[in-house]
Symmetry: C2
Subunit: 211 residues, 2 copies
Amino acid sequence: MSRGPDTRDAIVVAALAYADEHGIDSLTLRGLGRATGLHHTAIYRHFRSKEEILNALFEQIAAESMASLGEVPTDPGERIIAIALALRAGLHEHPAVAGAYLQPEASIADSLPARQLQGLILSSLSELGLEGHALAQRYQILESYVLGATAFDFSGAPAHLESRRQRHRMADGQDLEAESRETDTIDLLNEEAFALGLRTLVSAFTRDAQP
Amino acid sequence: MSRGPDTRDAIVVAALAYADEHGIDSLTLRGLGRATGLHHTAIYRHFRSKEEILNALFEQIAAESMASLGEVPTDPGERIIAIALALRAGLHEHPAVAGAYLQPEASIADSLPARQLQGLILSSLSELGLEGHALAQRYQILESYVLGATAFDFSGAPAHLESRRQRHRMADGQDLEAESRETDTIDLLNEEAFALGLRTLVSAFTRDAQP
DNA sequence: ACCTGAACACCGTTCAAGT
DNA sequence: ACCTGAACACCGTTCAAGT
């Protein structure tokens, strides 16, 4: 483990890998200390609390998602979709973290990348022609859908796909059996469904904003 | 605390009240024992684990929501909306529980009330004219939206409204200030937004199913 | 059958003591 | 400045012993 100002980043990277492999519940300070070569109490030199580490994980993913965006579409509706899908993809790579921002103490909105994402969505909705109460409502729907549905879809990571598969199989006599054969299929269905729901919402918002 | 076969129910009721008042993280077996007059290890006579208690909380709320439904609308789209709003209302009464089903070990789908809700939604989508892959996708969107967005909206309970208020206020220069004055206003905005998103999705699904 | 008390193997966090 | 080791006040869970 390198010393100096990069130690904090190194802890975040190690914590991300640890959570991806063992699940967020298994991420303990003692385990993280072992993974980084630091004494577990030494981590408090870089983070005020474990909660701050979890917030940093989301911040890291949000920043990666923002960076992967690159050129952003000029059409405001497509821009919203691109941003949401980029964040979804970032959380898909680290599914164990997806539920972390629902912890009672989490404050993901305070981070800079989260603020940037929020600002991009808000200005896009504004470009669509929405304002005031109608804009606030639509923003809230998108935020709750993107972050909520993603947390729900990935909760239980890394075993989330298997439980989702069983949930589908459970719906016997309802023509879902063919959709529940493989966890890969479920993963694809999940991502397709998320994108379809997102497009459905954004299309409706675009229509709502028309005179 | 009454003995006998009702003890389990009494524990669930006490746990629900405890979580509502102190937050789900403060719900410990020792605290629950104190609240029920039972020794904390005696709880293991009624539940295999703490996880099983959390699942029972969701089950209880789902059952209450089902019971409050009463007469169900004949129109399949309106039926989906009524069911989803009933579950949302049940979780609104116990916001601290809303995040519990996102725990890595949660298995809410195994409970009878959850299965009943799922069956009602599936048959309603089928009545709309959806089938196979299209039906599975729409079901998945609704499940992820209803449970995910609700978990997200209520996460941090009982302090969730205050943090949500600050999140809105944070979006300065974006016309949200007027929406962020009171936590009551935020609560109303939340519920309005959830219902609007739900209706938007169901309307689109109804249209998709038309020939 | 149900409950009790002690114990086990963990947690996150603090803090005086080291370099 | 940064790290260490011991300790504190908790957890969920187990189990022999009680009634």
